[in-house]
Symmetry: C2
């Protein structure tokens, strides 16, 4: 089993507040495992008895709407934690988590998280700040969904994917999403999304090559996204 004190991604989450002793405890109780692309980490409504620390890979947090379509609420990547809200609220998960790539994940049982809560104030504060940050982001996404057109949201989303996940040597976006998934982020019909991507392509703002997307004119995209 890996030692948590040598895990780099710890530095990016609330866990960075833990001291050496606490890290040993963490390493003792955690379960480390791999998740294949497409696998479900947890489902909406599941009772979580712990949190997940993402060591590598990206997953989507989704919620099923009453119209039968899934909405992607957030993408979560290495260094971030999953399931904190559910744990703190003592409620079932409000969102489901599905791997977008092969992932490495550690599961930390609730009892241990709660102990850290009680003995390490910095840890609590970090966790609280994370939730606050998520809230701010959710509010911002909410406003964009309410006030911006699909075209604007697509441009904004492409830029977000670029900035948050980076690009390959060939300049294509590192994170590969299906058209359906992109639609599910911007909240539109798949066909509308495909059509707009084609338009962006024809206008020279992006370049499409199968699932690969290259942002050719970020300035124009930024203007569009406002």
């Amino acid at each position: 089993m890996g030692k948590c004190d040598q895990c780099i991604v710890r530095e990016f989450s609330a866990l960075k507040a833990l001291n050496k002793d606490e890290l040993v405890k963490l390493a003792d109780c955690k379960t480390s495992y791999t998740v294949k692309k497409g696998d479900i980490i947890f489902e909406e409504g599941d009772t979580l008895d712990g949190i997940f620390c993402i060591k590598d890979g990206v997953c989507k947090l989704t919620k099923l709407s009453s119209n039968g379509k899934d909405q992607i609420v957030k993408l979560v990547t290495k260094g971030e934690l999953l399931g904190q809200r559910s744990l703190i609220s003592e409620e079932p998960a409000n969102l489901g988590a599905v791997a977008l790539e092969d992932m490495q994940v550690c599961f930390v049982p609730k009892s241990q998280v709660m102990e850290f809560f009680n003995v390490n104030n910095k840890f609590s504060l970090n966790m609280m700040k994370n939730v606050c940050h998520d809230l701010k982001e959710a509010d911002n996404v909410l406003v964009n969904l309410a006030q911006k057109s699909v075209k604007e949201r697509l441009a904004a989303t492409l830029l977000y994917l670029h900035d948050a996940f980076g690009i390959n040597e060939d300049e294509s976006l590192k994170i590969q999403l299906s058209r359906d998934e992109i639609s599910s982020i911007i909240g539109t019909a798949t066909e509308s999304c495909i059509r707009l991507l084609s338009d962006f392509n024809k206008n020279g703002w992006i370049e499409l090559n199968g699932k690969k997307i290259i942002l050719k004119d970020k300035k124009e995209l930024r203007k569009l996204a406002e």
Copy 2:
């Protein structure tokens, strides 16, 4: 100056965790004041050096979109706190707060809130739970904005206003919003909102009388809102 230990609304917020001594401290440092309908409590981008406890009245939390329109992100009413996220994140306010009715508000300086944070674990946990609840709600609103039609959102909003703020003796919704404000909740053009309200009226689902709105067929509205 009012004594906080006799304030009923305290029971509805994180402040319920405070003990007698802490309540005396709170009463000593707080500022109590009234806010007139339409008045700004704080603006987006303001640096808040404290939190607001709503003793009476309702306000809206809004964010200005780049298209120049305001989006109402949340309605906040008596017993709830304002500015917690900003305080915890140590960031300027992400949303602005404007009174929808005459209000009574208490301001509690940051230093005092932070002291409670350090000495009263229950208080911190309550606050954390509040933020988590807000996050869950924001995610749910986000999904509805992305996946539901304007008609569905209007029906859902009317039911929400009914359930959250209650009705008068004449059965009309207690909270009075302008058509513009309702539009700003559901994220649509004012004219579209007015038109749909007229439709709902003609269908007998609601009854319009000036600013008064009576829900006549909640079952049908619920079916619409899904």
